[in-house]
Each structure stands twice: as C-alpha cells, then as structure tokens.
C-alpha cells in the first residue's frame, strides 16, 4: 500500500547533493582536517618536535595555542597529530572493512560449513574485549604504527564481519541473487555486482561509525601509553602528555581532545544524516 501514487521516483537523488547546513559544516570540518593533515609540513608554523617556547607557555601571537609540556608549539603538533590520527584511523577502518566485509559476504554467499566455522571463530574473537586483544598484541610486538593498524584493523574486521554478513544474508535470499545463481554466475559476480551495490549504503554508514571508534580507540591506547609512540604524535597522546598542564590551569590537553571530538562528531553527524537520506530514498 504505497502512500505515494505511481512508482517511487529516485528524484530525491538531487537532494542528496543539496547538503543541509549541518552536514555541510561537518564536511567542511573534515575537509579542513584532511587538508591540514596532508599539508602539515607546509601549514604548521613550526616543526613537530621543535622546542620553541617555555613549557606550558600561554597562547601568544607566535604560538597561537601556546606551548606543550616540553615547550613545543601546540598548534603545529595538533596539525602533525592530525596526520597520524586520521592516517591511522583510515588505515584501521580500511583494513577492517576490506577484510571484514569480504569475509562476511563470502560467509553469507557460500553458507554451510564455511559460514559456520568462520562465524564461530569470529564469535569467539568478539567475546574478547578489543582493549585486551590490543594490549596483548602490543605487549608482544611493540607499539608501532603498522602494528596498531594491523591489530586494531583485525579487531575491527570481526565487528564488520558481522555487519557485512547480516547485510549480505539479507540480500542473498532476494530473488535477483537467485536469478544470478540460476544463470550460473560465479561467486565474484554475485559478490561484486549483486551484493556489494546493495550493501554499499549501510556499509558506508558503518564505515563512518567504525572510523570514529578507531580514532577514539587509538586515542585511548595512546592515553594508556600504548598507542602511537613519540616522536610521532597523535591527538590522544597529546592529551596524555600534557595532562599535567591542567593542574597549572593550562588548557593544552583540551585542544587535541577537542580536535578529536570535532572530527568524530563531524563524522558521526555526517553518518547520521547519510543514514537518514538513504532511508528516505529507499522508501
């Protein structure tokens, strides 16, 4: 019983491009963050590790956000920190998605014993708290950026697997997949042409959420001293390094924390908005 007369038009695709105000702001924030990360050496007034002022110096015309606990320029370090934070966050999410969703799709399409085995293992892995897996692996392999990306990416993959499998399982039973099977199509076609286009929306939304979690997780790890290691700096580590400043009434740790919040809020709002748009156009 459609409320609208006639076929539902996908004309609302045009409104996808017409961004409402809030998502536009979020997009701009993210674009600025990514641009800043990419052009850090050009953009940052000082070098990442350069000591240019007193520890916890107050903001000034030279050091807009003041100095950090060693007297380095906070603004420059935030810009460099964005690099690592966004880079690592993207790496983790990309790895988690590639691995998680392809395995999830395979499980849903192949089904049977393959699905059983993979799903059981993922179940067992998911029951481990992610923080614990990260701690154990980092304890074993040391904390470098590749190790972080691999570890957290793999943890992420288990979560994405479930989402991907559920989404694909929903699609696999639809008639058009049966049509493709009846035609004699191979696995690759079914996954890439029949399933992927239909799960891309929800997966993209999930990608945004996972990206936020990745950033927050890395920040938490850094906060525990187990994440990105100096001399590299990510925003979570900056909060930890400068936390003492709060006692002096210095706001240095607040700036990177707010930067994290700004990025993650933007991503989340965009995702929310995107989900709403997808929901609307699917009706």
């Amino acid at each position: 019983m459609s409320v609208l007369p006639g076929p539902v038009k996908l004309g609302s695709q045009r409104s996808v491009l017409r961004l409402p105000i809030l998502p536009s702001i979020c997009t701009v924030v993210l674009l600025i963050a990514v641009a800043a990360a990419l052009t850090a050496p050009l953009l940052a007034p000082f070098q990442e590790g350069e000591i240019v002022t007193q520890p916890f110096a107050a903001p000034s015309a030279v050091n807009w956000l003041g100095g950090d606990f060693l007297g380095r320029d906070v603004l420059s370090r935030i810009i460099y920190g964005l690099r690592v934070t966004i880079g690592v966050g993207t790496g983790i999410t990309a790895l988690g998605f590639t691995l998680g969703s392809s395995l999830g799709f395979l499980s849903a399409v192949i089904g049977g014993r393959f699905d059983q085995v993979v799903s059981r293992i993922v179940d067992a892995l998911i029951s481990f708290p992610s923080m614990m897996i990260a701690l154990v692996v980092i304890a074993g392999l040391g904390s470098s950026i590749p190790v972080l990306v691999l570890t957290v990416g793999l943890i992420d993959a288990t979560r994405v697997y479930r989402v991907g499998r559920a989404l694909a399982a929903d699609i696999v039973v639809r008639d058009f997949v049966e049509v493709a099977r009846l035609r004699g199509e191979k696995l690759g076609w079914i996954i890439f042409h029949e399933i992927l286009p239909n799960t891309a929306g929800p997966l993209l939304a999930e990608f945004g959420i996972r990206f936020t979690y990745a950033i927050l997780f890395i920040s938490a790890l850094s906060f525990l001293g187990l994440g990105v290691q100096p001399p590299h700096s990510d925003l979570g580590l900056m909060v930890k390094e400068n936390i003492q400043g709060l006692m002096l009434g210095d706001y240095t740790p607040i700036y990177p924390a707010l930067t994290i919040a700004l990025i993650t809020i933007s991503v989340n709002l965009l995702v929310d908005w995107y989900i709403a748009v997808v929901k609307r156009t699917r009706r």
Partner: protein
C-alpha cells in the same frame, strides 16, 4: 653539598616542622630550607591514620625484602623491617640494628655489634642468627635478588655471640657498612620463608593486610625499639600509578602523602597553603648509554659528538622543570662527597659536536636511538629534547620507542645507543662496580679498562678519605673523557604531603625520607 636537614637521623625524633620553599619552577631548583616561623615546634602527637599514595602497586609487590624491585615496595618494606645500617642525609652510614662496627686493618673482615633490645613483631628477640639467615638468603645460589651481586662478596659469616657477627669478605671493602644500607638487605626473622600477605620484621609498623595491588594496611608497632616514633595508629598505602591522579588525590584530600611528584605539579602545590613539597637533590641520574664494543659508538668521536650535542640545561628546564642538576658524563653526583669538582662541566657545544660527528663520517646519518619511560619517567621527553639539540649539530637521531615492559630485555646492553637511568648510590664504589666494572652483568656500556678496574679495587680497600677522593676522582675523569656514558641530569626527589602531616624530611637517597617517613611521621590534628 648536602641538603640534609642536619643532624644524624636516629630513632630519636629530630623532626622539626619545616616547610620547604622552592624557588619557582623556572628557577635553578635550589633548595632553601628554613624553619617556618609560622609553625611552632610542636611536640609529636600519637594517633591518627594516614593514607599514602605510592607511585605504583603491582601484583608483583611482595614482602620479601630481597625481591623488592621498586621504590613503592621499599616504602612498605622500610616500615616493616629494619636495616642493620641506616644512611644519613649526608650519605654516611649510621648505626641502626647494628650498634657499631669495626673493620680489620685492610677492611677484609668486619665485626658488627648488634642491638640487644630489639624484638620482632612476632615477639621473638632479634640476634645474630637473624642477620646470618637474612644475608644468606640474599647471597645463596637460589637467590633471585639483585643484591646477590654485592652480597656475594661475603665469604663467611660467623656468629661470635648472640649479638656479634663477624663478616669475612673475599676482598677488602671499606664501604661494607654503607652497603648494608641498601633498600633490600632488611633483616627478616631466622627461618622465615613465607612472605605472602604477612611478615614479621623489627620495623615501626606491623602488617595488618598486604594484598598485592589491592590493600596495604600497617598498624603501629608499640614495641618498637627506637625512642620517639612511631606515632600514627595506622598507615594505608594506595598505589596510584597515574601521576596526575596522584596529585589530584592529594589535592582532594583522599590521601595525605604522595611520593614521586611530577615536577609540573610542584608550583601548584607550592601555591597551596595546605600542601608541603619535599625536595632533595640526589644521585639518581638519567644518562645516555653508548656501547663501546658496537658500531658506531665504538668510535670515541661519535661518543664525543653525542656528549657535546646534549643540551643539558634545556633538559633540566623543559623536561624536569628545573628540578635537577646537569650531569657531567660520569655517574657521581654533585651531592656525593667524592664528586670531582675539578673536572670542568661539559656544555652543549654544537660546533664541537658537529666537528666530531663529521670526523666520524656520520653527519646527518640516521642513528638509531632507543628510548622508553621504563628507566624513569621523563626519559622519552628528555630524548625528544635531545633529538632536537642533536639535530642542530648535524646528528640525526632516529628515535625508536620500545614498550616499557620489554626495554630491559630487548634493547638494553644490546643496542649501541639508548637512554638509561640509575638510582643514586651512597658511595661511588656501588655504582662504579655495578655499571662500569669489566665483565659486570650490568655494565651497560661494556666499559673495559684495566686501570679503572684496578682503581676500583684499590678504592674499595682504602679507608682514608683523601686517598679515596683521589682514586674516585680519577675514575670520574676517565669516564668523562672516554666512557660510553653521557649523563644528562641528576634528578631531584620530589614528594608532597598535606600540611597537617608533620615530621617528614627530604633525603637524597630516596622518596619520603629514604622511604622511612613512617617512623617519625605524626598528625597535627
């Protein structure tokens, strides 16, 4: 230069209410102690409970003194146990459970007279058997204690009578008494093997509960042999590893005393009339360790470049906020009586550093440098500052941070260049023969010098101060010229307590009055 509050500490209370005023955080960190006129010298009162924040507590915490690994362990240990010999703020040995001692002519045999008025918490009387048992545990083959290295010099222990022990050493050692003031050589009861959750020592406090990383509560030992303290009824120890949380806990009144302050917190606490900061210059140092038998640091030019490239002032100021003293590339601290004042201070000199690194052919070449906060808090930050100052000299340090829990195992004495740190020792011999003696297990630079080794043996067997000063002075010079060690800074020991807590003094050998604050602390209600 001693920063002690004067007077040999003894069980007799010398505690005077003092407020240590520091010169401010950008200052040189000079300590100007004086009696605060605002506080009358009130007599200590009995009673009250205190909560002390330790800088850690882990499940490896133990009451087995030989296996203390951290100062938080020592803090509890010193309240429960006593040493045979204590250490004054001037780093001199002072009688404790031993009333007196006497060496033979070449210091290869020592006779210690023990106090006869001491009982263990269990009620058993303290005597020679306890000393022999305790020390045997440390030096036996089965011992896992780090003290084994220096306790093994005791060839034989003889019970002369119930309160007299004779030590026969494998070589002369003039420093034997001060050696017995190590934080791990406490006296336990003869035959004691069980140290889980309970212990019987002779110390001022008895164990009420000791559950690793959960709950440490001690109660006053009313039969303590010393006069004066202990005063407070109960002390509870809480491990707060996070430095900010530790200070917050003091500020919010959740704890009364905190050990191991972050330098950043000092000005905040100083500005607060309800808080007292304790500060002691110490021999604890942070150093670069360069292996003499590995490339590239086997070249003295590289070592010299590395030494000249350290901006020690910047490290003291920016990393330690002024609470430290610059090092001079040997491990003897300015507060040590044997500190060689004639050696000129090595300063940050980019030109010389560049000259040497060029000569070594490694200008702007990536040199791996390992770092971690495992040696001590602030090491990573100090390395980062070092990296900056070195970069200006054409030295490209490639920092590799290693997780704290595998630093010693994976990197230390295995990589040519890394950061390290040592606790202060009361006499030069103790640090020199541990870390610089040829073939020593902890010789982190593989420093190998026959003359140096000979000097060590000679110094150890010498009882005359002036002669020893010469010997150790030479050792310092040798290390400064040629050694693999580049000392960045000697650190201040920083603690704090609420102002209602009285009777705690600063001590160069360890936090909170060489871990012994419990003996004399009292509460001014």
């Amino acid at each position: 230069m001693s920063l002690s509050n004067g007077g040999p500490p003894s069980p007799v209370d010398f505690s005077v209410s003092r407020r240590t005023i520091l010169k401010g955080f950008a200052g040189a960190g000079l300590l100007l102690p004086f009696a605060n006129a605002g506080f009358a010298q009130a007599a200590p009162k009995k009673g009250g409970k205190l909560v002390v924040a330790l800088n850690a507590w882990t499940s490896s915490d133990t009451l087995d003194p030989g296996n203390f690994y951290d100062s938080n362990n020592a803090m509890v240990g010193f309240a429960v146990y006593d040493l045979l010999v204590n250490r004054g703020p001037d780093l001199k040995a002072i009688p404790w459970l031993a009333e007196s001692w006497e060496p033979n002519a070449d210091a290869s045999e020592w006779v210690f007279k023990l106090r006869s008025d001491v009982t263990f918490h269990s009620g058993k009387r303290f005597g020679a058997d306890d000393v022999i048992y305790s020390y045997t545990r440390l030096k036996s083959d089965k011992s896992t204690s780090p003290t084994k290295a220096f306790m093994s010099q005791i060839k034989e222990m003889k019970k002369v009578d119930d309160h007299t022990v004779r030590f026969v050493l494998d070589a002369p050692n003039a420093d034997l008494p001060i050696t017995f003031s190590d934080t791990r050589v406490h006296i336990v009861e003869d035959g004691a093997t069980e140290f889980l959750g309970k212990a019987s020592g002779t110390g001022p406090f008895k164990v009420k509960t000791f559950e690793p990383a959960q709950s440490y509560v001690l109660t006053r030992n009313d039969h303590y042999w010393g006069s004066g303290g202990p005063y407070v009824d109960e002390i509870e120890y809480v491990g707060i590893p996070d430095r900010t949380a530790r200070v917050n806990a003091l500020l919010s009144g959740d704890v009364d005393i905190v050990m191991d302050l972050d330098p950043t917190a000092v000005p905040v606490l100083q500005a607060n009339p309800d808080m007292v900061v304790l500060n002691a210059k110490s021999g604890t140092h942070v150093n670069v360790a360069m292996m003499l038998d590995m490339d590239p640091t086997s070249k003295n030019d590289v070592r010299m470049a590395m030494k000249y490239a350290i901006d020690r002032e910047a490290i003291v100021q920016n990393v330690y906020k002024g609470f430290g003293v610059v090092g001079n590339d040997h491990p003897i601290a300015p507060i040590d009586p044997f500190y060689n004042k004639e050696i000129p201070q090595r300063a940050y000199d980019p030109d010389k550093a560049r000259f040497h690194i060029k000569k070594a052919g490694l200008e702007n070449t990536k040199l791996p440098f390992y770092t971690s906060d495992a040696p001590r808090n602030g090491c990573v930050a100090a390395t980062q500052v070092y990296q900056q100052s070195a970069a200006k000299c054409g030295i490209n340090l490639d920092l590799q941070q290693i997780p704290a829990d595998s630093y010693w195992e994976k990197v230390w004495i295995k990589q040519p260049m890394l950061i390290s740190s040592w606790d202060g020792r009361p006499v030069p011999d103790l640090i020199l023969s541990i870390a610089y003696k040829t073939g020593g297990d902890y010789n982190e630079t593989h420093w190998k010098n026959d003359k140096f080794d000979k000097l060590l043996v000679e110094g150890r067997g010498t009882l005359d101060f002036a002669k020893r000063y010469e010997i150790y002075g030479e050792c310092q010079r040798m290390l400064q010229d040629d050694g693999g060690v580049a000392v960045m800074t000697f650190l201040d020991i920083l603690d704090a307590h609420a102002s209602h807590v009285k009777g705690i003094k600063a001590h160069p050998s360890g936090n909170l009055d060489f871990f012994q604050f419990a003996t004399n602390v009292w509460v001014d209600a």
